[in-house]
């Protein structure tokens, strides 16, 4: 059902954890639906210096969270805002169709974290 890449990220998630003094935090999903994801970012010189995640959900939800941290780390905020759900799925070697919508939340989580950072900075 899942690609080897998905299973690899599920088995060994990259950048799992929290950043206590994060510059931005984005939470998307809902435990009622079975997927909840929090992305923490640290920003330095307009780049994502560090990124971590915590996820409640299925294999796909955990793997996409892990993948987004790999894709986003070191990118400028503009570049990171352009990462899409499709990019995450493609880099994982595809996701089962049913998971494309429900569990592929990681890009939304990343964008929410960046928006949180921008909002805090603007305030």
């Amino acid at each position: 059902m899942y690609s080897d890449k998905v299973l690899d990220h599920f088995r060994n998630p990259r950048n799992m954890g929290e950043i206590p003094d994060a510059d931005g935090v984005g939470t998307v999903g809902n435990p009622v639906c079975g997927d909840l994801m929090t992305i923490y970012i640290k920003v330095k010189d307009n780049r994502l210096a560090d990124i971590k995640f915590k996820t409640f959900g299925c294999g796909a939800a955990i793997a996409t969270s892990s993948m987004i941290t790999e894709l986003a780390k070191g990118k400028t905020l503009d570049e990171a805002m352009k990462i899409t759900r499709g990019d995450v799925a493609d880099n994982l070697g595809g996701l089962p169709p049913v998971k494309m919508h429900c569990s592929n939340l990681a890009a939304d989580g990343l964008h929410a974290a960046i928006q949180d950072y921008l909002k805090k900075k603007g305030a």
Partner: protein, 392 residues
């Protein structure tokens, strides 16, 4: 090599070697059609009736004419529900079921709604037992059929059959029981327990897939929903699947003979599994009734994590089981059965169903118990819902 432990017997069972052996001649040389008047036909007819007699014996039906072979549990449930509803339309158009039935009961009932019938889904309590007061007020003289699972395949709860039958018959309705999960595991006597129709499946007794049966008590008003050449006394047309019938018959015979010893063996293994998991994993719970349950069923749940990721993790160490999580369903909704017993969505997502079977040993239970705590711990470390104090 990783140990491999299959504890997903409710999802699929291996065909017993003795079953395969008796089927083989009917898959190869003994190809007759029981409708044929020649000796090949006679041979097939004889095999079919011998198989039927074994189902009669398993469920304690009064006579062979009360057992109809079908393609499996789903078809048996469809024939029972729609067949009785349609046949008795002149008497009433009200059907009753519980809100925790198998999909092959829920969906036929829902399809009747679209055809002008009314359906009352009676609630079950938090252990999965039907609310008898609610059942009593739901059943009226316009009710023609009440369909309730003998035992719930997902949470294992066994219903108080006699009390249910008494309520149902008081108003003259027929009682259908989906016994797919129960038949072969617990003793059933359709006469003593006053059941009018009952669905059973072959694979759930280590028989081949694609075959099941429906018990219909003599005198029950029912009409066919599949029409054709009039096989199975007109209730279920279609050329008889002789090898599968022979296999199911053998499976029923073995199940009956081994029921007591195997039931006790599985109960003990299951109790050990449940006890040790609940002891070793914090915030873990047993779903369903603590004692009124199928011997092989251990329906568990773990807070703060999701079932599919549990299944994947267990699969990586060679363990197979199921979950009622949305991610393992086709509907993206958690199991309606877990919601029916009052679990919140997030609780239902964290469910894990172990169903034990013939090949399982004490060592299998030891292995699962040794693997599970670390897996739960790892997933909880990833989950944002886990309370901080649980992680330290």
């Amino acid at each position: 090599m990783t140990r491999r432990v299959y504890m997903d017997y409710a999802a699929g069972k291996p065909v017993a070697p003795e079953v395969l052996e008796v089927m083989m001649p009917y898959l190869t040389d003994k190809c007759g059609n029981p409708s044929s008047p020649h000796s090949w036909g006679n041979e097939a007819r004889k095999a079919m009736e011998e198989a039927r007699a074994k189902i009669v014996s398993l469920v304690a039906a009064k006579k062979p004419e009360e057992i109809f072979f079908t393609s499996g549990g789903t078809e048996s449930n469809n024939i029972a529900i729609k067949g009785v509803a349609f046949r008795n339309k002149d008497r009433g158009t009200h059907i009753v079921a519980t809100n925790a039935e198998h999909m092959s009961v829920m969906n036929p009932c829902k399809s009747l709604l679209k055809q002008g019938f009314t359906v009352t889904f009676v609630p079950v309590d938090k252990s999965g037992i039907v609310n008898l007061q609610a059942l009593e007020s739901a059943v009226t003289d316009k009710t023609t059929l009440v369909s309730i699972g003998y035992a719930n395949g997902e949470i294992g709860t066994i219903q108080p059959i006699r009390e249910i039958a008494e309520i149902v018959h008081r108003e003259g309705a027929s009682l259908h029981m989906d016994a797919v999960a129960a038949a072969g595991q617990v003793p059933i006597n359709v006469q003593d327990e006053n059941i009018d129709l009952m669905s059973v499946s072959s694979n759930d007794m280590y028989g081949p897939r694609g075959i099941g049966a429906l018990y219909v008590k003599t005198g029950t008003r029912i009409e066919p929903i599949i029409q054709g050449g009039g096989q199975e006394r007109g209730l279920r047309s279609g050329t008889e699947n002789i090898p599968a019938m022979v296999g199911m018959g053998k499976a029923a015979e073995i199940a009956k003979a081994e029921m007591k010893t195997e039931g006790e063996r599985l109960s003990q293994l299951r109790d050990k599994l449940v006890k040790r998991v609940l002891e070793s994993v914090p915030a873990s719970f047993l779903n369903g009734h603590p004692t009124q349950r199928l011997p092989n069923n251990a329906s568990l749940r773990f807070s703060y994590i999701e079932g599919e990721s549990l299944i994947l993790s267990l699969d990586m160490v060679g363990i197979a089981c199921s979950s009622g999580s949305a991610c393992t369903s086709k509907t993206l909704e958690p199991s309606h059965i877990l919601l029916a017993i009052g679990l919140k969505h997030e609780e239902a997502h964290g469910s894990l169903l172990f169903t034990l079977g013939k090949q399982n040993t004490k060592e299998d239970v030891d292995y699962v118990v040794s693997a599970l705590p670390d897996i739960v711990k790892r997933l909880r470390a990833i989950s944002p819902l886990t309370p901080k104090e649980m992680l330290s």
